[in-house]
């Protein structure tokens, strides 16, 4: 799990610094409590033996700021929710692709899914391993969520 988290943090830092332009990711805290009242983009990375969900969570305002930075939209313009979801989803699409490149040699048949944007609290269930990394992406507080579920087959 640590290798996946490290790969995701490194990828998000590079994307934040070089692609979004908001600055690198700085880790504030690591824990296993999924924060509530947030929204974010989730994307699956799956193989026959294990499934991962990677997610980038932020407040409504935070997601707006990240999306605007990515799309080079002025601060005083409001993006519609669909555009925020789209931009955040694309951030995680890129991050997950970079994670896949790092982890592919270690995990057979790793496949990348399509992102989904979710508002609200995600409940972990039995058998799901949870890790949360509280990050500053530039000056924006965000949370990287990594959920891991081992296959039972």
């Amino acid at each position: 799990m640590d290798a996946w988290i490290d790969a995701a943090v490194t990828a998000l830092s590079e994307v934040g610094r070089d692609f979004i332009g908001c600055g690198p990711a700085n880790v504030v805290r690591k824990h296993d409590h999924i924060p509530g009242d947030l929204q974010g983009a989730y994307i699956p990375l799956v193989c026959p033996t294990v499934s991962f969900q990677l997610a980038l969570l932020a407040t409504s305002d935070g997601a707006q700021r990240l999306a605007k930075a990515m799309l080079c939209v002025p601060e005083d313009e409001e993006l519609p929710p669909a555009d925020v979801a789209d931009a955040m989803g694309e951030i995680m699409n890129i991050v997950a692709g970079m994670v896949k490149n790092v982890m592919q040699p270690k995990v057979e048949s790793l496949k990348l899914g399509l992102p989904m944007y979710i508002h609200g609290h995600v409940q972990g269930s039995n058998g799901v391993e949870i890790r949360v990394v509280d990050l500053q992406l530039g000056d924006q507080a965000t949370h990287l969520l990594v959920l891991k579920q081992q296959s039972t087959t």
Binding site: V15, A67, N93, A96, G97, L112
Partner: protein, 120 residues
């Protein structure tokens, strides 16, 4: 020249167009499609000069689009712009008839280098 940008993310299509302008291709016409089916229909009805295509998309993904085009004898210049940057994906792309693969995150230079042989 006309460039067709194919990605299910409108945000990414806008970012690709911005990078194309930064790379010096701003004087070319840019058109968009949201998935492989839309792109195929656009290619049939109003053929572009080059296609820049995402890999993972609903309806019809990028590799399915490319394989369909090449299977019909359509040799339109075609490149991927994708977060799927593994060796296996690149090999499949090139074996299927793509001219180049640009990995996300990209720079304007990525497009400058990849498109130099295909766009004046």
């Amino acid at each position: 020249m006309k460039i067709l940008i194919v990605d299910d993310s409108r945000a990414m299509r806008m970012i690709v167009m911005r990078h194309l302008r930064q790379a010096g291709f701003g004087n070319h016409t840019m058109v968009q499609a949201g998935n492989g089916v839309e792109a195929y229909n656009e290619i049939q009805s109003a053929p572009p000069d080059i296609v820049l295509c995402d890999w993972n998309m609903p309806e019809m993904n990028g590799i399915e689009l490319l394989q369909k085009l090449r299977g019909e004898g359509n040799g339109i210049p075609f490149g991927f712009v994708t977060s799927e940057g593994s060796v296996e994906v690149r090999k499949l792309a090139m074996d299927s008839g793509a001219q180049f693969v640009i990995s996300k995150p990209f720079t304007a230079e990525s497009f400058e280098v990849a498109l130099a042989d295909h766009i004046g």
